[in-house]
């Protein structure tokens, strides 16, 4: 059930090690537990790595931007799709980390500043999620009230950062900038002194592809571990899970904090990509987007969240080029249709309907 069992496999051999790796990555909590899936996965990663050689920097940079949203989508997938915690304000952690990265990056010059900014911002987003989560979960708040509170927090931040124009709202050399936002946020740079690599354009793209890859695989290991089972158990029936001896509040707090950190990382790379952040990241237009991405793709599956985020972000970008304000109406309609017709999202549907294709690929053993 939980992937192919590896009991009795000698892990000192190459085959044994491979089986061990697959055992950690596979299980009933993720889609794609077959050789065919991994063959397709390797092909997609290879295509992503080769992409910059085929397109201009403009397209590469834009694709990188589309991929940055996946961290926010994955963070919501983890806490909502897996653990059943419906956060409507995941953007709060995204925005806080984005602003924090700007503040640290502007104040501490050079690569050290941006690397420090990355670490501090992600830690700050996680800490903020921890505090908020602590009061919610230990205060006995659940279900729709979590959505209301998290959205309220995002909107309060939206109002707060909106009124930060003027010199008195500077942190060191970094003016928060009110509704105009914070400008001149430096690009993330990794390394020391002259040896540092500025992560921009194609380098930024590769940075995003690699970090997303690591995040996806890491989360696959997590959700297929014992902890992943507990997350799913909490989503399905928290009372039963508590009475199986699990400290569900603690688990929820832990996963909510991790979700905050992931969203925070998304905010950092977003701010680094555009060298800019403004209060609309906390706003009512942006807050529902992660929900639309993840619900459309399939909130209960990591791959659903990533593909859903990429596709919807791409579609909405094309729509806003074509139709301006209509894009939100069309996105809303997409969400409605998905909820009514494909409540589990389109990715698991596609996955379920393609076993015949998987069977026809070399070594196919569809699930």
């Amino acid at each position: 059930m939980a992937g192919e069992t590896t009991t009795g496999v000698d892990r000192s051999t190459a085959d044994g090690r491979l089986a061990g790796v697959r055992d950690a990555l596979e299980g009933p909590n993720t889609l794609g537990n077959s050789r065919a899936f991994w063959a397709g996965f390797v092909a997609i990663v290879a295509a992503l790595l080769a992409y910059p050689m085929m397109r201009s920097t403009y397209y590469v940079s834009n694709t990188a931007f589309l991929l940055t949203s996946a961290f926010l989508g994955l963070s919501l997938c983890l806490i909502w799709g897996y653990a059943g915690i419906f956060s409507f304000g995941q953007v709060a952690f995204y925005g806080i980390a984005g602003y924090a990265f700007g503040v640290v990056g502007i104040n501490v010059a050079g690569p050290l500043g941006t690397m420090l900014g990355l670490v501090i911002s992600v830690a700050l987003a996680a800490a903020f999620a921890f505090v908020l989560g602590y009061f919610m979960f230990y205060g006995g708040i659940s279900d729709v009230y979590v959505a209301i509170i998290t959205l309220a927090v995002a909107l309060v931040l939206n109002t707060f950062f909106g009124q930060t124009s003027g010199d008195e709202w500077s942190i060191g050399d970094a003016p928060l900038g009110g509704f105009n936002g914070m400008t001149d946020i430096p690009n993330l740079a990794i390394g020391v002194g002259d040896a540092a690599v500025v992560v921009e354009d194609v380098a930024f793209y590769y940075f995003i592809v690699l970090t997303l890859l690591v995040t996806y695989l890491g989360l696959r290991v997590l959700v297929n571990s014992d902890i992943g089972y507990v997350l799913v158990a909490i989503r399905e029936n928290e009372a039963r899970t508590e009475l199986l001896g699990y400290d569900t509040k603690r688990v929820k707090l832990g996963v909510f904090t991790l979700g905050g950190a992931l969203a925070g990382f998304g905010g950092v790379v977003y701010a680094s990509w555009g060298n800019y952040i403004d209060p609309t990241v906390f706003g009512l237009t942006f807050a529902p987007l992660p929900i639309i991405w993840v619900a459309t793709g399939g909130r209960k599956w990591l791959s659903g969240a990533i593909i859903g985020t990429f596709v919807i972000t791409y579609v909405s970008q094309q729509l806003s080029v074509l139709g301006g304000q209509f894009s939100m109406i069309i996105l809303g309609s997409i969400l409605l249709i998905v909820i009514l017709v494909l409540p589990e999202g389109f990715v698991p549907q596609i996955h379920a309907r393609l076993p015949w294709l998987l069977d026809r690929l070399p070594g196919g053993e569809s699930r």
């Binding site: 059930m1 939980a2 069992t5 009991t7 009933p28 014992d226 089972y229 507990v230 799913v232 158990a233 399905e236 029936n237 009372a239 039963r240 899970t241 508590e242 009475l243 199986l244 001896g245 699990y246 400290d247 569900t248």
Partner: protein, 251 residues
């Protein structure tokens, strides 16, 4: 400490596995459980009966920590557990099946048991799951979603999950509700098997035939108070119990 470790040493001499002292729960003006002093000794199969609204389910929730008592104390194996969280009580060896089957509906029967067992089984969990599936008659249904099981099978699955942690004390809220006569009989067998494995049981039940089949002792709850206590025969012959619960014409 795991449940199985807890099972290795018994209570202090003369101490019950479960004891309550003046346990009371008020909901506004309603006293749902009224100064209940309960004592259950290790090895017992105690049935808790009484009319609807007598406070039976509320009492179970108080014992398990799903509700906080307004007054009174719960002692488990001699220790005051009144302020312990539910999961801490489970780790000390208490376990419970809900009134309405609470299984993970979207997950397979096997995954349901995996979640219950993974805490105490390090290796070869699949074999242990198979064993439990076998003894609870669910082997054929291993891959079925719990939602697609028959009602009786859901009840068994939940009992299988609740007993997976090798509890010392298992609380069952209406384990045979909605079951056919055959399923009820099978449930009684399962309860005896669990008791033979050393598990003490407290069972809420309305079906008096089922109570007769399993009970070693019976507590009658009425309007939140302990109304009568004794063997099933004593209870059945008690004219006051017949008046308030069993019915005057009860044979």
């Amino acid at each position: 400490m795991t449940a199985s470790e807890a099972a290795t040493d018994a209570e202090p001499d003369g101490e019950a596995i479960l004891r309550t002292d003046g346990l009371t729960k008020r909901f506004g003006g309603l006293v749902a459980v009224d100064e209940v002093d309960l004592r259950i000794d290790r090895g017992d199969i105690r049935c808790l009966i009484g009319p609807n609204g007598a406070g039976k389910s509320t009492l179970l929730k108080l014992l398990m920590g799903r509700l906080d008592p307004s007054e009174g104390t719960v002692f488990y194996r001699g220790a005051d557990v009144t302020d312990l969280s539910q999961h801490d009580r489970v780790r000390k060896g208490m376990s419970m099946k809900f009134q309405v089957p609470a299984v993970y509906g979207d997950l397979s029967v096997r995954q349901n048991l995996h979640i219950a067992l993974q805490q105490r089984i390090e290796n070869d969990i699949d074999t242990r799951i198979d064993e439990r599936l076998e003894s609870f008659g669910l082997f054929e249904e291993a891959g079925t979603s719990a939602d697609d099981l028959a009602h009786g099978q859901q009840q068994w699955l939940e009992i299988a999950m609740a007993s997976a942690l090798d509890p010392d004390l298992l609380l069952l809220d209406e384990p045979a509700a909605g079951m056919s006569a055959r399923e009820t009989e099978r449930t009684a067998e399962l309860i005896h098997q669990l008791n033979d494995q050393g598990i003490t049981l407290l069972v809420i039940e309305h079906d008096i035939d089922f109570v007769r089949a399993i009970a070693q002792s019976v507590t009658v709850l009425h309007q939140g108070e302990v109304f009568a206590e004794g063997t099933i025969t004593e209870i059945e012959e008690n004219p006051d119990v017949r008046r308030i619960y069993l019915g005057e014409g009860y044979e």
